[in-house]
């Protein structure tokens, strides 16, 4: 494991330590096709006892439950309830805008989003769920946390200010957690949500912002440039723009919230000057509820 990944994992461990293992809400467990997190109420590979059934041709001698069989003349086989884990996909925006930190004592938005994603992933893994980055196979087990950390760090910063998840990477009946700043053109959100709805995928949109982006503390003559330099706005009175900016930001959030609720998703936002545990608690509540 690279040092960066180890560091990220250590921070994520500490961020997620206070949360119990997360078992995803089983709201869709009833659907047979949608593998719930838990017992599928049919025989299959699993941990818990399901039923005794008479042994039939093809059952090996080892599978016979001799204690039960001894009470009668027939041989019985002990079946277990089929279990499977929910799969959760995590996606963290790697746009250049995510590398922004308004002050040196605050983490970059991207770093905070990665931390949240990994901490959430570890909570889920502790609950026995399958977790993976979007586009990679979800796996269970503690070793997956390490792969997650490496995968998150290995993501290359994009060329533009923002980026979007691949809609093709969605798998049916997944849970998806999208972490981004949603400051650039948000058309992809609508596309993604539409496709997700068609595939029975639900999830969470989480907007991670720097306090400077939330408050717009600028005044005087300022030449604003996006982090990649693609966009710029020259203002001679930044303080005068503040209200307009905040209005637009609120409009953007309302729009995202509407879309998310329309698709059965959740929308939340998080500022990097708040403790990550707050956002993590919210995610835990939303996904677990």
């Amino acid at each position: 494991m690279t040092p960066g990944a180890a560091d990220l994992r250590a921070r994520a461990e500490s961020a997620s330590a206070h949360l119990p293992g997360l078992i995803l809400s089983a709201e869709r467990l009833a659907a047979v096709v949608a593998p719930g997190a838990h017992g599928l109420r049919r025989a299959g590979p699993g941990e818990d006892f399901w039923q005794y059934r008479p042994a039939s041709q093809g059952d090996s001698a080892r599978s016979i439950d001799w204690r039960r069989s001894a009470r009668s003349d027939a041989q019985f086989v002990r079946d277990r309830e089929a279990q499977t884990a929910q799969a959760v996909g995590l996606w963290v925006s790697a746009g250049q805008g995510m590398g922004y930190a308004g002050a040196p004592d605050r983490p970059a938005k991207g770093a905070r989003a990665q931390l949240l994603a990994l901490a959430l992933g570890m909570v889920l893994l502790r609950g026995g769920e399958k977790v993976g980055l979007l586009g990679q196979p979800p796996r269970a087990g503690r070793a997956q946390a390490e792969r997650l950390a490496q995968g998150l760090l290995a993501a290359q910063a994009g060329a533009g200010d923002g980026d979007a998840p691949e809609a093709q990477a969605l798998r049916p009946h997944q849970r998806l957690v999208i972490l981004s700043d949603f400051l650039t053109d948000p058309d992809w959100v609508a596309v993604l949500l539409a496709r997700a709805a068609s595939m029975g995928v639900t999830g969470v949109l989480m907007q991670v912002l720097d306090p400077d982006e939330e408050n717009f503390p600028y005044a005087g003559a300022v030449d604003f440039r996006s982090v990649s330099g693609a966009l710029r706005h020259d203002s001679r009175d930044a303080a005068g723009l503040r209200q307009a900016y905040l209005d637009r930001l609120a409009a953007r959030r309302d729009w995202l919230r509407d879309r998310a609720q329309g698709a059965g998703w959740h929308f939340g936002h998080h500022a990097t000057d708040h403790a990550p545990a707050v956002a993590l608690g919210w995610l835990h509540r939303v996904l677990g509820g």
Binding site: L183, E213, D223, V227, H233, D234, D237
Partner: protein, 940 residues
């Protein structure tokens, strides 16, 4: 010039530009600073927003103020501000510049020239005619003629101070005859000393108009020679504070290598002041050997002719004439001759002349020593010579003791009794007498008489009232040992014992030398003036002359100087320097004469401190630059926030790193270049230090790892064999990188030749050749003994290529009788891993023939520098870590025998290198043994 309070402006019209400042204020105010640039991911949300109230951006007031201050400082600076300027009284009429050009003007000559030049330039600017009087007395200027001032500048710039004192024209009225009537302004750039004619000239000039005198800017120091019994120097200084330390006097002359350098530093003594001039005596207290080498004395830190005293005969060797009986010829009897002791004692510090009295007197000696002489034929001539200042030293002896008319003998300091006395002899009472302590104020003060000096016989003086006064050294019973009397200008000294060890052992002691030195040093050197009477040498030819700055130069076309003129000291036509007549040399020194400070009555003396005023231009420009730097920092702070400004400030500081850091970086870069580190100490291979400590065999690194390993193993094996079998106990072999390592401590260098070995650098070959010349040996091994000549790879080309730059003598196969065949083992072949190939060594010199009865010829008186073969010896010697041979040789027992012979060859080579031709010398052993046997047989 515009004067505002204490500040004057040279170009006041420039101040008008200050009016532009308010305009600049408006312009600068209207030009806003650049906007801040901020990285902000939320720009997308800002796109299309319009500023609701575009705020007019203004430069902050403090930034404006900074810029205006910078511009104001620039304008003021170029307006030529001067702090407390001296207002030149507008002078009119012609200007006369008098420039003292003697040696006393040399110390700040450039400043004087500059002052005169300024005055002339001002006069030229005002259109005043001018005249220049260069007071060096070189040429009679005739009546001064006025000329446009700028035509005089060239002559002024070419003027140089001369090495004699400033000389003024004799008749001031004649000088000023052609001057027009009316006021004549005079600028007199003086050297501070009074010179003949100065007062008259001053009076004449003061009568014509105002006289401004520029005094010298720094005190003047002069060095002179005080002649007398003990010549000393006199340091005089003007304007010196009371407690000031005097500079040291440097005694300069050729050292034993003939290089002129500072031989000694003399410290001036206590100062006495009179009339504003401080004088300090400087004793020349130096051993005669050193003193005789000195060519000049110089005041440290002063460079003018007056601070230099050229040493001539007066401070140099005395010429001593020795008159005595001729030496006895036999070698052993020389020690009985009194002249021998005198010669040995005097030769280091004096020139000796020997011969008859007449001959000696003809050479004009400073001292004449008569050894046991009475009734001399030239006594009258000698008496005249003594009267004229000669020093006559007489030694007693048996002839004087036996002379029956000793009482009548002239030229003795005291009257002597006939016969002398014997103390401690066989027929006398008492013991030999020692010396009494020397008088504390006498000529021998400070010398200590060794306790073992004893006098067995002496000449006795007649008791007389003046005897005690004339005795300068006495025996312990107060009888005189040395007496002295002044006679005219000169003196006569009598030593009451012989100059050999017959009467006393005084001549055997160091005291004898010291006493003679003291006596001879009192001899007064013959005066120049007296020599001027010498009709044979009426002219003195300058040899070396000084210029005004005290620099010596050969006298090129100077005419010889009449002796009478020379006595008057340096002057026009006879600069300070060394003059020679025949064999005599005399120095003419600039300083040393009586000096007096000049008085300037009726003239305005310009004080240095007030002359130019303080120019403020530079300060203002610097202030403007500083303000502009502050402005740029401030602008950066406004535009980019504090961090950028801090970075700029940091960058500005880093632009000027401390010099030490540069030096370290430079050093690092130099070392980084690798191959040839500059500092040799760091480059010394620690292995070489070990090799210097113990004997170690060395091999050349070829760059081929396999070959190098074989060399290392082979030499390890040979070292082990040497340890086991011989008293040579080498350490681990040393690997030598020819390009880097010093070979000086090595003896044997094993050099395996490989095909692709790069040739060493030229420096490495220089070291190799030096190594060979100084007794080192290289064993070249081409390692191709199995293949050469049968079509295999032949290393001879590679060997030729590598060894071509070496100084290799003609080679020959090792002769059967070479010493190499018997330095330790007796060998007739030199096998290595291969055998049967010739081994080459320095060819025996042509004509070396076998001596009869000697088993080998006397060849190569030394060590052959190279040994060349192809037998791959290292492979034969090679052992591994466990001590087992690494490479097989031949087969079976035969092969092991060959390995043994290879080791024997190696041991022989090491012995040969270490002992040289020692074994060759052993040829004499049989003869020596024979002789011993014969003597033994004869003995009993």
């Amino acid at each position: 010039m515009l004067v505002l309070g204490p500040i004057g402006f040279a170009a006041p019209w420039l101040l008008a530009a200050l009016i532009a400042l308010p305009v600049l204020w408006l312009i600068l105010r209207a030009m806003p600073p650049a906007p801040r640039r901020v990285a902000f991911p939320g720009v997308a949300l800002l796109l299309g927003l319009a500023d609701r109230v575009p705020v007019a951006r203004r430069t902050p007031w403090w930034l404006l103020l900074l810029r205006l201050a910078a511009i104001a400082a620039l304008i003021l600076a170029f307006a030529g501000p001067v702090w407390k300027p001296v207002l030149q009284v507008p002078a009119s009429g012609p200007l006369l510049v008098v420039l003292d050009a003697g040696w006393a003007a040399a110390p700040d000559w450039a400043g004087r020239q500059g002052r005169a030049e300024r005055a002339l330039a001002e006069a030229a600017a005002q259109g005043r005619p001018a005249a220049l009087l260069l007071a060096d007395g070189r040429a009679d200027p005739g009546p001064l003629v006025l000329a446009p001032a700028d035509t005089l500048l060239a002559g002024l710039r070419a003027a140089q101070p001369v090495s004699w004192a400033t000389t003024y024209p004799d008749e001031p009225d004649a000088l000023l005859a052609d001057m027009p009537d009316g006021p004549l302004a005079t600028l007199w750039i003086a050297d501070g000393l009074d010179h003949p004619g100065r007062a008259a000239l001053l009076a004449a000039l003061a009568a014509r108009g105002p006289v401004t005198v520029v005094p010298p800017s720094r005190p003047l120091r002069m060095l002179g020679l005080v002649e007398g019994e003990a010549p000393a120097l006199m340091l005089a200084a003007t304007g010196e504070a009371a407690g000031q330390d005097a500079p040291a006097i440097l005694a300069i002359g050729p050292d034993p290598q003939g290089v002129s350098r500072e031989l000694a530093r003399l410290a001036p003594g206590a100062a006495t002041g009179a009339g504003g001039i401080t004088t300090r005596p400087v004793a020349i207290d130096l051993p005669p050997e050193l003193r005789n080498r000195i060519t000049r004395f110089q005041v440290e830190g002063d460079s003018h002719a007056g601070a230099v005293v050229l040493a001539d005969d007066r401070v140099r060797r005395r010429k001593v004439g020795l008159v005595g009986d001729a030496d006895r010829q036999a070698e052993g009897q020389q020690l009985l001759s009194p002249l021998h002791y005198l010669r040995r004692a005097l030769a280091p510090g004096a020139d000796l002349v020997e011969g008859g009295l007449g001959d000696v007197l003809d050479t004009a000696p400073d001292v004449v020593i008569l050894v046991d002489q009475v009734e001399m034929a030239e006594a009258g001539e000698l008496a005249d010579w003594v009267e004229a200042g000669g020093l006559l030293i007489r030694f007693a002896g048996p002839r004087m003791a036996g002379f029956d008319r000793l009482i009548d003998e002239p030229l003795l300091p005291v009257i002597l009794r006939q016969g002398g006395r014997d103390i401690g002899g066989a027929l006398s009472w008492g013991d030999p007498r020692g010396l009494a302590p020397f008088a504390g104020d006498g000529i021998f003060a400070g010398l200590t008489a060794p306790a073992d000096v004893a006098v067995r016989a002496q000449l006795m003086a007649q008791p007389a009232p003046e005897l005690a006064g004339r005795t300068i050294a006495a025996l312990s019973d107060n009888t005189p040992l040395i007496t002295r009397d002044r006679r005219g200008e000169g003196q006569i000294v009598l030593v009451h014992v012989t100059a050999n060890a017959e009467w006393s052992n005084l001549p055997l002691s160091g005291l004898f030398v010291e006493m003679l030195d003291r006596l001879v040093a009192t001899a007064r050197l013959t005066e120049t003036a007296e020599r001027a009477d010498d009709r044979e040498q009426p002219f003195w030819t300058p040899q070396t002359v000084l210029d005004g700055f005290g620099r010596a130069a050969p006298a090129e076309d100077l005419a010889p100087v009449p002796a009478a003129d020379l006595a008057q000291g340096p002057g026009p036509g006879r600069p300070a320097g060394i003059y020679a007549a025949g064999e005599r040399r005399v120095a003419l020194n600039a300083g040393g004469g009586p000096v007096a400070l000049a008085e300037w009555s009726g003239a305005r003396v310009e004080r240095r401190a007030e002359t130019p005023g303080r120019d403020l231009k530079g300060w203002l420009l610097a202030a403007a630059a500083l303000i502009l730097v502050l402005d740029s920092l401030g602008s950066a702070a406004v535009a980019r926030g504090g961090r950028v400004a801090a970075a700029l400030l940091l960058g500005a500081l880093l632009l000027v790193p401390p010099p030490a850091a540069w030096a370290q970086q430079g050093g690092g870069a130099q070392q980084g270049q690798g191959a040839q580190p500059a500092d040799g100490e760091a480059a010394i291979n620690p292995e070489l230090i070990r090799a210097a400590d113990e004997v170690a065999l060395a091999y050349v690194l070829t760059g081929d790892e396999a070959v190098d390993e074989v060399s290392q193993e082979g030499l390890t094996g040979l070292s082990l064999a040497l340890r086991q079998r011989t008293s040579v106990e080498p350490g681990r072999p040393v690997a030598i990188d020819l390009d880097r390592d010093d070979l000086a401590v090595l003896t044997l260098l094993y050099w395996p030749v490989t095909e692709d070995q790069p040739a060493p650098s030229p420096q490495a070959y220089l070291r190799l050749n030096h190594f060979l010349r100084s007794g080192g040996m290289i064993l070249f091994d081409t390692r191709d003994g199995d293949l050469a000549g049968v079509g295999g790879p032949d290393m001879s080309a590679a060997l030729r290529r590598l060894a071509a730059p070496l100084e290799v003598p003609p080679l020959a196969p090792i002769p059967e009788d070479h010493v190499l065949t018997r330095t330790f083992y007796l060998l007739d072949a030199f096998p290595g891993r291969w055998q049967g190939n010739p081994v080459w060594i320095e060819a025996p010199p042509a004509g070396a023939a076998a001596a009869e009865g000697v088993p080998f010829r006397q060849l190569n008186d030394g060590v052959s520098p190279v040994l060349i073969g192809g037998n791959s010896w290292a492979e034969a010697w090679a052992i591994d870590a466990n001590g087992y041979p690494v490479y097989p040789i031949g087969r079976g027992w035969e092969g092991e025998r060959q390995r043994e012979l290879a080791f024997r060859f190696g041991i022989n080579v090491v012995m040969y290198v270490l002992t040289g031709n020692y074994k060759s010398d052993q040829v004499h052993v049989p003869a020596l043994l024979d002789r011993l046997r014969v003597e033994e047989e004869l003995g009993p």
